[in-house]
Symmetry: C2
DNA sequence: GATGAAAATTAGACAGAGTCCAATTCCTAC
DNA sequence: GTAGGAATTGGACTCTGTCTAATTTTCATC
């Protein structure tokens, strides 16, 4: 499925293919997301990118993640009311969200069949569908 | 479907049935949500409850909405990264979210059929499933 | 009706995510 | 190497939501 290594060179090409000028900061942010194939918050991206030596500002992290989203290089996952997650997996897929741990897991969409959705109201076009299964550890009476 | 009027008296009974002590503030907050049958943010609830004369603090609005959620009187809808919506409709249903206007519309779940979802990982139990169709006005190249 | 304890409410300080802006730095084309 | 547009930066700012200690309300018991 993932044919190529996430080297800086390959990532720069990917950025160019998405119409994004591949700067040093942008490549590092892309590397953080793609090499891990994980759902990361802006804060987590910031920490990863600056762990060796500080080199990318908060403003740039937010600017870049929004740019990536606009250019459809990553998608946003809105499940935690306190922060957005960024997902480098653009294949159609759904999520399991553990309310206790905050852990976010992918569900492959190819096996899932959804039918009976109504017509959309006029004048709008669907941009995507999010499916989130909220789960809790067994026998947990809280929150 | 909604057999009874949302009078303060009936709402007080509903609160009691959910194990919630029906105080003046809690009844007003319930009334804001149920009489409108709308998806409201904490801020909107606050504005409605205080529009005649200020009588409910921000802390109480947040406390009460969280209490209602715990007691399963309302549900949270997480679609806007900047705020949570509270939904008095506890019937299984899904949502259409207009990314441009922020408008949130219900989709009746009874006609929707979802199959092929994988087994949940062990040790967790599903608390619910959220389905959100993100839409945009036709021919809108932005955001 | 007074008394006291538990429950609820409150103002305002606080925290964290995300945005904005003006100043600086970086790239690229000449 | 110069000019100009693009990108980055620190830090102030906004907004949603939480926390806390003080006050008010509720309610059972005398
Ligand atoms: Mn570096
Ligand atoms: Mn009133
Ligand atoms: Zn994912
Ligand atoms: Zn709804």
């Amino acid at each position: 499925m993932n044919k190529l290594q996430y080297t800086r060179e390959n990532l720069a090409d990917t950025l160019r293919r998405h119409g994004i000028n591949p700067t040093h900061q942008r490549i590092e942010i892309a590397h953080a997301l793609f090499s891990r194939q994980a759902h990361l918050s802006a804060d987590q991206v910031m920490a990863i990118v600056n762990e060796k030596h500080s080199e990318t500002s908060k403003a740039t992290v937010y600017n870049t993640l929004n740019l990536f989203r606009q250019k459809k290089l990553v998608r946003e996952v809105i499940v935690d009311p306190s922060k957005v997650f960024y997902d480098p997996n653009m294949e159609p897929h759904y999520h399991i969200y553990n309310l206790e741990s905050g852990e976010l897991t992918d569900i492959d969409a190819s096996s899932v069949r959804i039918s009976g959705l109504p017509q959309l109201p006029g004048g709008v076009v669907a941009e995507g569908m999010d499916v989130v299964i909220r789960v809790r550890p067994e026998s947990d009476n809280n929150s």
